[in-house]
């Protein structure tokens, strides 16, 4: 049924921290590994060892160059940084991928808000992938059906797994702890708190999809720039190199070496 359910009382989703993602692609690899043997058809590859390999992935990591704005709103090139950006389905509340589906294969669960594809009913028309602004759906070239992030529905409720593994594969495998899983409809959940504290945002809110997943923006790296209060508690490495004022062992070493001149 491709009508959207009434507002689910539980909204399971991910919170992704753009401040600490190091772009290692571990979550993408583990996502592929888990999901190729789990829910539905496997995630096929075409010409995996050929000249032009391609394949289905439910989670991909893009990297962006970000030049943060200073207090005057101007880009500050000296603060430029790389932001690694993992992208999987955001399990939108107003999911257009669901309502466009002609077969009822795409649906949003009323009990926890997870957006899924019933692969036995999918005709592979591809319209849902067109309707998703985020590129979160990929047609599997082998099976001819639409694949998307399942929020690891076959892990999170799976009582055969030890308690600590009942989390999405990508969350479990992230070595930097940049991905968090929880109920975003519950204001007291860890993920909701994180979103409030860090000012979590929606991707492309202007598209009107009301994504459940949230992204935490990078923390300002320099106190004098980018959303900072203007007061720096950070140390200038340049100044330190020129006039070392270190204490403790390094200070003693500095003094001892200075005496040698």
């Amino acid at each position: 049924m491709t009508m959207l359910p009434l507002e689910p009382t539980k909204k399971l989703g991910l919170v992704i921290d753009l401040d600490i993602c190091v772009g290692c692609h571990a979550c993408a690899v583990n996502c592929k590994e888990w999901n190729t043997g789990g829910y539905g058809n496997s995630l096929s590859d075409q010409e995996p060892f050929g000249a032009d390999p391609a394949g289905t992935w439910l989670n991909r990591i893009h990297s962006f160059e970000a030049v943060p704005f200073d207090d005057a709103g101007q880009p500050a090139p000296q603060d430029a940084r790389i932001v690694h950006f993992p992208k999987s389905c955001l399990h939108c509340d107003d999911a257009p991928c669901v309502t466009v589906c002609p077969t009822g294969a795409s649906y949003k669960r009323s009990e926890d808000g997870i957006v899924l594809v019933n692969e036995d009913a999918c005709i592979g028309c591809g319209l849902c992938a067109w309707a998703c602004a985020y590129g979160a759906r990929e047609m599997d070239a082998e099976a001819g059906v639409m694949k998307k992030c399942t929020l690891c529905v076959d892990r999170i409720y799976n009582e055969n797994l030890p308690e600590e593994d009942r989390q999405p594969a990508c969350v479990r495998s992230c070595p930097a702890n940049a991905r968090h899983f929880g109920d975003l409809a519950d204001p007291s959940s860890d993920v909701s708190n994180m979103v409030v504290k860090r000012g979590g945002v929606d991707l492309m809110p202007e598209q009107g999809n009301r994504p459940v997943n949230k992204y935490l923006p990078p923390r300002p790296k320099s106190g004098t720039h980018a959303c900072g209060s203007g007061q720096s508690d950070q140390v200038s490495l340049l100044k330190m190199a020129e006039t070392p004022q270190a204490a403790g062992f390094v200070g003693w070493l500095d003094k001892a070496l200075s005496k040698l001149d």
Binding site: P75, T103, I123, Q207
Partner: protein, 304 residues
């Protein structure tokens, strides 16, 4: 967006078929033709519509389940299109068969079938017009232009199929003018409706709006993926102006000239065959561009 041949063929040919069916149904509804004598005309209309629909099925990853596509008409334009197409062809086919068998059904049916044709073509166009992530499609001008071309190609077919309707050549000229005027308006709007025109850009796409100037540093994978092949299609945009000119010459100027010629000659079927062929060829180019020109906001994640 990737211009798939099957979808280009489907939208143009079934559009022409439904245009023709609508005009035939109206004519029959007004009592000017009866199916026992003119069933071949109906067969052409049905043949075009149905072959277009069949070609659209080839576009699917699992065509054997295509029947499921008629189930979600409450929410999905693609499903509505399927339901309406089946209803239209079914009702029209039954009407014609009944007429051939000597049963005279109420002429009212003509208006019902014509109305269903309009709704079917409208639903086809809404599959594209509903998509907010594709700003060039997301406008009421999209269904207007689909309806315009359905009418113009149906009208030209009508003139071609029966010299008796040569009196309608003037009407066909008018329809050509209307259809291409709408398309030119669509093109004018398209010039302003690039991928960022809906307010989306790389910063909103990454959630970094207001924080930083953002541009792509590295794609997720070095080779192409489904999303890039399907939605980040860029080949045709380069030759856009030339292709538009070709579409206009084949789709508008040539059929208008052939129509005029046929009019002077007092109705010539062969000349009208050329007119229809040129018009449809022009529409293929126009429809190819409709897809190739459309940009999807997902391309913001791929460096556009």
């Amino acid at each position: 967006m990737h211009p798939a041949k099957s979808v280009i063929f489907f939208t143009t040919i079934s559009g022409a078929g439904f245009g023709l069916i609508a005009l035939l149904a109206l004519t029959a509804g007004m009592g000017h033709i009866s199916w026992d004598k003119s069933w071949e005309l109906a067969a052409v209309g049905l043949g075009l519509s149905i072959s277009g629909l069949i070609s659209s099925v080839f576009h699917l990853g699992n065509p054997q389940r295509a029947w499921r596509a008629v189930t979600q008409w409450q929410s999905s334009w693609l499903s509505r299109e399927g339901v309406l197409a089946v209803m239209t062809c079914g009702l029209f086919g039954l009407w014609v068969l009944a007429g051939m068998a000597g049963y005279v059904l109420p002429n009212m049916l003509g208006y019902v079938v014509a109305g269903l044709c309009v709704l079917t073509v409208f639903a086809t166009a809404m599959i594209y017009a509903q998509l907010r992530p594709v700003p060039r499609w997301h406008t009421w001008l999209t269904p207007a232009s689909y309806l315009g071309f359905s009418l113009s190609s149906g009208m030209l077919l009508m003139v071609m199929l029966h010299p008796h309707y040569n009196g309608m050549a003037g009407g066909a000229l008018g329809c050509l003018a209307i259809a291409w005027t709408v398309k030119v308006l669509w093109w004018m709007r398209a010039a302003k409706a690039d991928v960022r025109s809906g307010g989306s850009d790389t910063a909103t796409a990454t959630g970094l709006a207001g924080y930083a100037d953002v541009r792509l540093f590295e794609k997720p994978h070095m080779t192409k993926n489904y999303l890039m092949k399907e939605m980040v299609f860029a080949v045709g945009r380069k030759h856009m102006q030339k292709l538009r000119l070709i579409a206009l010459v084949l789709g508008a100027a040539a059929p208008a000239a052939f129509l005029g010629f046929s009019l002077i000659a007092g109705g010539n079927v062969l000349v009208m065959v050329f007119a229809v062929a040129a018009h449809l060829a022009g529409l293929f180019v126009e429809r190819w561009l409709f897809f190739a020109e459309a940009e999807h906001v997902v391309s913001l994640y791929y460096g556009r």
